[in-house]
């Protein structure tokens, strides 16, 4: 089923002649006004290979992909498809060649069904009418075949963001019959789902599909790819055969310096209990009892939809609890609004930056200061200087790659947007920081910085709840690790007292 187009005819298997480039870039370049997002690049993709692309946030990876799929138009340069120059001016044209992509931010229609999304733009039609039943059946068959346990008839908007990502993958797989690009596909996936995805990618490769794979997780790059290209600051700095390189080399090419340790972990003596829940229940989770002490990171691990986000949303006053109690520094509290939570000293960086974290069409400085306007307001007005200073300091501290505090957040690359989501809470003076998937889409260098930042917060006497679906992250950082499954807190481990496998099986529930 994989690699078949929606009408069911088998795609002609492409015979991989290893030396013929299926797609070749010559001097491809993209400018956004003053920003030089991609400097003239030459690169050839060999038919049938898995080609990884790595680079820091804002290095130009997504830009390259958007150029190849006709989403944006190039400033200059040429693209050759099987030796012929092509325009690739519209997505439609790219799809005609069999080029498709799973883009970084999930771009599908929430209001349409899964099946409708999978066949969007290429519907099955008979006598001018849509064959809805047939499409739903086919979509379901494809999903089942891929091993994705997802229904085809539901509205896309009712799935979690990770599940949406899988649908996007399935969709691209049935349409990108020759050349398929994945832009950070695992950012929202858990281990099991990532494993399903890798299986899919390998099957596609067997069918002769050329694959471009972008990820910030280097172990994935080594697990999957044949060759890897490195982008730094819009410049293509090199291409390596994966088997002939190593992590250290890639990192030094990416950030132009070496990085001895990504997971920066410091241990602090546990202080007083900041927050404690007793049998807390709410929408999406029940009976959770845990506590966080100053100087401590409590990690929450689980599969997508395990209820971790729901749990912290209740701590933060976004949802009302339905049972149990919350104690803040020993006193029972009822947190009814986000503002109340903030006033207690709780900060929350939510998981979806686009939906929950950022005012995307407002300036960087505005977003950074949004939670602290009440603190810097004087006589009802926000003084310019305070506004400016605080924003500039955060931008410098977090090394946000932006033209300034006045730039709109939407002009930042994904990883830099994530820095804003976190950065807006650092000025707030909170004692308990809740980070929900803080490193989604963040490059290794920045990740290391964020981990250092966590340590700094701990040193200042804060406590942290860290949610991550990326096991190594919580595993390496959490002083205490809770495993969630179907809304319940099913296991608790002290630092490094359980193996990855144990934790994973607790999360899956086998």
């Amino acid at each position: 089923m994989v690699g078949t187009n929606p009408h069911g005819q088998a795609a002609e298997a492409v015979v991989a002649t290893a030396s013929v480039p299926i797609l070749e870039l010559r001097g491809l370049e993209k400018r956004y006004g003053a920003t030089h997002a991609l400097k003239p690049a030459d690169l050839a993709f060999v038919s049938g290979e898995i080609h990884a692309i790595v680079g820091e946030n804002g290095a130009g990876k997504s830009t390259l992909i958007k150029l190849l799929t006709g989403v944006i138009t190039r400033t200059s340069g040429e693209v050759f498809w099987e030796g012929q120059p092509v325009a690739l001016a519209t997505p439609h044209e790219a799809i005609e060649f069999g080029i498709n992509a799973v883009h970084q931010e999930v771009v599908l229609c929430r209001h349409l069904t899964v099946a409708a999304n999978m066949f969007l733009g290429d519907e099955a039609v008979g006598f001018g009418l849509l064959r809805k039943g047939e499409m739903t059946r086919k979509a379901q068959a494809i999903l089942d075949d891929l091993g994705f346990d997802l229904p085809a008839h539901v509205l896309l908007g009712d799935l979690t963001i990770g599940q949406q990502q899988l649908i996007a993958t399935a969709r691209a797989a049935i349409r990108g019959t020759r050349f398929l690009i994945f832009d950070e596909p695992t950012a929202y996936l858990t281990r099991t789902e990532a494993a399903q995805l890798f299986a899919l990618i390998r099957r596609l490769k067997e069918r002769g599909v050329t694959i471009v794979y972008i990820s910030h997780r280097l172990e994935e790059v080594f697990e999957l790819s044949d060759r890897v290209s490195i982008l730094r600051d819009g410049t293509l700095v090199g291409t390596r055969v994966t088997a002939e390189t190593n992590e250290t080399e890639l990192i030094s090419l990416m950030i132009n310096r070496s990085l001895e340790q990504i997971y920066h972990k410091e241990f602090f003596p546990a202080g007083d209990v900041l927050i404690e829940t007793k049998n807390l229940s709410g929408p999406g989770f029940r009976d959770v009892s845990l506590s966080v002490r100053a100087g401590q990171i409590v990690g929450l691990y689980g599969l997508i939809g395990a209820g971790r986000s729901e749990f912290v949303m209740s701590l933060f006053g976004r949802h009302r609890k339905t049972g149990g109690s919350i104690f803040w520094q020993g006193k029972e509290v009822d947190i009814r609004s986000e503002r109340e939570a903030m006033d207690l000293g709780i900060a929350l960086a939510p998981e979806s930056r686009r939906d929950q974290g950022l005012c995307i069409n407002l300036p960087v400085g505005f977003n950074l200061n949004l939670p602290i306007f009440p603190h810097i307001t004087m006589a009802g007005l926000v003084p310019f200087s305070a506004d400016r200073q605080r924003a500039d300091r955060q931008i410098a501290d977090l090394q946000v790659k932006t033209s300034g505090r006045g730039a709109l957040v939407s002009s930042l690359s994904g990883g830099n947007q994530q820095k804003i989501v976190i950065g807006k809470w650092l000025n707030h003076g909170a004692r308990l920081f809740i980070f929900d998937e803080p490193t989604v889409g963040v490059d290794v260098g920045t990740k290391a910085e964020i981990y250092r930042l966590l340590a700094r917060l701990l040193a200042e006497g804060a406590g942290i709840i860290l949610i991550s679906s990326y096991l190594p992250e919580v595993y390496e950082l959490a002083d205490e690790l809770h495993v969630f499954r179907r809304g319940e807190d099913v296991a608790r481990h002290a630092y490094h007292t359980a193996s990855h496998e144990e934790i994973l099986s607790e999360a899956i529930g086998v």
């Binding site: 799929t69 989403v71 519209t90 997505p91 439609h92 799809i95 992509a101 883009h103 771009v107 599908l108 229609c109 929430r110 209001h111 349409l112 409708a116 999304n117 969007l120 733009g121 290429d122 519907e123 039609v125 001018g128 009418l129 849509l130 809805k132 346990d149 997802l150 229904p151 008839h153 539901v154 509205l155 009712d158 799935l159 979690t160 599940q163 599969l303 997508i304 939809g305 179907r486």
Partner: protein
């Protein structure tokens, strides 16, 4: 996994979707029953026929408007297009064009206006609110210029009688609702471009990335809306027997209200064809009922406003509980 619970709720929602249409219909029926009991004249053949005639034109406008709203747009010009097209039709008929030619040219004018809106939105990048507001203003001006601020009499009796006559026991005007509604339903819910209208309204970027011709889809939605309005212009010209550019003032708001009462979301991507039709007849029934009950015309306005709030509110509630 959570998928199971989600699937369940979703399944309930999507099955409630059809029920929802039914329930609005239920509301309409309930109103009719109450009026039948409280007035002796509501449930008479003559009155039901009147009601069908009175709701028909807004119903057709609301269907056209719905296409546009689903794409997250808005078409403020429909009332003006109706008025303008009464003028075009009247002018053509008084200049001895045949009815057939008149109908074709008038609908062609509708198509042209819709294309112009598409052009403004797609090519010039104007907000739909602005371009259709501008056409509203200009079209009234052009219509007034053509008639020199007066009215054009239509002397063609075949044409004017059409709107008064019946066919198989139903008013011709109501047949026109069916004539527009059935193809519109098939188009919106069962054709490829109908689906693209939803896709564009849901996520324009996603639609574009999927190879959907977004521009064409936008053109299509506005053209359909203006063409429906031109068609209503023909019906109105037949009904009032004159061409007058100031007619159908404010009908755009009634069409939009009908559409929203019928469950269309102004944020796009949610809507149907049957909903707006029911919405339009609910509004017509409110007016008809108020007249029959001899409600003071000022109270009638107040009640209409309150009922709109109530209907949409309960509709939201039901959908939320769905």
């Amino acid at each position: 996994m959570s998928t199971d619970t989600k699937t369940a709720t979703v399944a309930r929602k999507s099955s409630a979707n059809w029920l929802f249409g039914l329930t609005l219909l239920g509301l309409l029926l309930a109103m009719c029953i109450v009026l039948s009991l409280t007035t002796k004249s509501f449930l008479t053949e003559a009155n039901i026929m009147n009601l069908m005639r009175q709701g028909a034109m807004i119903a057709i406008l609301a269907v056209g408007e719905t296409f546009v709203i689903i794409t997250t747009g808005i078409d403020l010009s429909v009332g003006a297009v109706v008025g303008f097209c009464t003028v075009i039709a009247a002018w053509l008929l008084t200049h001895d064009f045949s009815i057939m030619t008149t109908v074709i040219i008038t609908l062609g004018v509708g198509v042209a206006i819709g294309m112009f809106h598409g052009f403004g939105i797609v090519q010039m990048g104007l907000p739909p609110f602005i371009i259709t507001l501008a056409t509203l203003t200009s079209l009234r001006g052009i219509g007034l210029l053509i008639t020199n601020g007066a009215t054009i009499n239509i002397v063609n009796d075949t044409f004017t009688e059409f709107s008064r006559n019946d066919f198989m026991g139903l008013p011709n005007l109501f047949w026109m609702v069916i004539l527009v509604g059935v193809p519109a339903y098939i188009f919106l819910h069962h054709s490829r471009y109908g689906r693209y209208i939803f896709a564009v309204g849901s996520n324009m970027e996603a639609a574009r990335l999927s190879g959907v011709n977004v521009k064409l889809t936008v053109y299509l939605a506005y053209t359909l809306s203006s063409t429906c309005a031109a068609f209503v212009g023909l019906l109105l010209a037949a009904r009032i027997g004159v061409g007058n550019a100031m007619q159908a003032d404010g009908w755009e708001l009634q069409a939009i209200a009908s559409s929203v009462i019928g469950g269309t979301s102004l944020f796009g991507a949610i809507g149907s064809v049957h909903g707006p039709l029911i919405g339009a007849f609910i509004l017509a029934t409110i007016n008809n009922g108020a007249n029959l009950l001899n409600v003071n015309s000022f109270w009638q306005r107040i009640i209409t406003g309150l009922l709109i709030i109530l209907i949409v509110y309960f509709d939201q509630l039901r959908r939320r509980r769905g």
